[in-house]
Symmetry: C2
Subunit: 283 residues, 2 copies
């Protein structure tokens, strides 16, 4: 179903947000402030993460199963795929699997980079799997930009260790950005925009903004996806008034590691996650 | 089947080595030098890693399927479980699943620590999942030792990034060992032995040995497991003479990410891994 065919509804709709883990909670966090009258169901497929090391076929199957859970069992009327790997490799498979509109994080990130960049040059930092998919490069190039991608495998573990303000993390970021700058120089690419292509990286934004050269803007694909979702969905969401917003406003589901999700999730969501419900999608 | 019932064979036997990823190649590396007349089949269940974040039931199922593949399809007559999580949580399930002797890494590591320590105090560093299982603590305490465990979640990603000699890694090790020392002081535990309870950590051994206080010995559970396997299996392995050792001496299998296995595996094995065969265990 295309976005234009999305059902009109007067009830507070449920937006399904899906990630392989809980990094996508940064996308939900950005959605919460923009869509105060929507309800949300978040699924982290934690039993089968990381998606990044798996084949396209396997990722498509996992993502489609997860999308069906959110739509059929939780009644989601829109889906936001807050997972870079699934957005890069399985967006078509998800769209085929469910009869609701589906938005990934890649295209909104590329569009935000396009809007930010005056030079037409953009750097993308992401996980190794996302970089190897070259999904951001393809999306940026399709919009006429020059792009250089850089894998930063240590940043997710540093965020999960809680070292988001730590000197070691600042040093790792400096090393990665130096390597990126040297690669750009070697290839004759210049950029005025750095796109954060991983849902964990918003937690490092203060350190990253301190580390980029003057004149380089930092753009965040989690914020960009939430912005795009808000633009698309606002036409279909008729605020029922906050008094009638049904409770709970958010439900959280995970396929494993519920305790870790509850413990670490609040850092990403910016507020307590509360109870996470365990679901079994098989596999 | 108990170790004592292991079949006597005059052919070069096949030893199955199993890990959730490829860190267990450090155990295979230690086995290769000790058992020059054995053949090896190594399986990395890379499609379903990390085991550490999964439930005991799920880990037991995955590990049993992997063990059956090595025994039934590859003809392994002995199994070495070169995976701390599976050794900690699924050794019984694996022993029930296959009719050959099975050796994990936890008990040999604890025994090596016992043999090393004069004070009876041991520190264990490992992944978060291994520490949360307290398997090393239980095994060390069963041997009458005082033990303090410390999770070091950044060390595996640093090894996989290839930063095994890097100043950032030295600094992270210093921070973790400082935290360990402060924890030990608070609890009144002293130790003269540091046990490396993760198959990735042998690659960091030079940096770790430089960071520990004088008088603390570093013990490696990969080496300890290979040593124990050699003692147990030597009684059952009758060297056929190197001329008759069938080729190939080693076969490598992975359930996904064959390319990453081939690329990174040689660091752990200390020689080229060569071709890795993709197998589908379902899930």
């Amino acid at each position: 179903m295309s976005i234009a065919e999305a059902p009109q509804t007067t009830d507070a709709p449920i937006i399904g947000v899906f990630d392989s883990g809980f990094g996508g909670l940064t996308v939900l966090r950005a959605l919460l402030t923009r869509l105060p009258h929507a309800r949300f169901a978040f699924l982290g497929d934690t039993a089968r993460l990381p998606y990044g090391s798996k084949s396209r076929r396997t990722i498509a199957r996992y993502a489609a199963e997860s999308a069906r859970f959110l739509v059929r069992e939780q009644g989601a009327q829109f889906l936001v795929i807050a997972c870079n790997t699934a957005s890069a490799l399985a967006l078509d498979a998800i769209q085929d699997a469910v009869p609701v509109p589906v938005l990934g994080v890649i295209e909104p990130g590329a569009s935000a980079a396009k809007a930010s960049s005056q030079s037409g040059g953009v750097f993308v930092i992401a996980t190794e799997a996302t970089v190897q998919s070259h999904a951001y490069a393809a999306a940026c190039q399709a919009q006429g930009m020059h792009v250089l991608e850089k894998a930063c495998p240590l940043l997710v573990p540093l965020v999960e260790e809680g070292w988001t303000q730590h000197p070691v993390t600042a040093e790792v970021i400096r090393i990665y950005l130096d390597e990126l700058a040297r690669g750009a120089q070697a290839q004759g690419i210049s950029a005025d925009t750095l796109l954060l292509g991983c849902t964990h990286y918003p937690l490092l934004r203060p350190l990253i903004e301190r580390a980029v050269p003057a004149g380089v803007r930092v753009i965040d694909s989690a914020e960009a996806a939430a912005e795009a979702a808000t633009r698309i969905f606002n036409g279909h969401i008729h605020a029922p008034g906050s008094a009638s917003l049904p409770e709970p406003r958010m439900r959280f589901f995970a396929t494993d590691s519920v305790e870790k999700f509850e413990r670490l999730g609040s850092r990403f969501l910016g507020r307590p996650v509360g109870r996470v419900e365990l679901v079994d999608l098989g596999g």
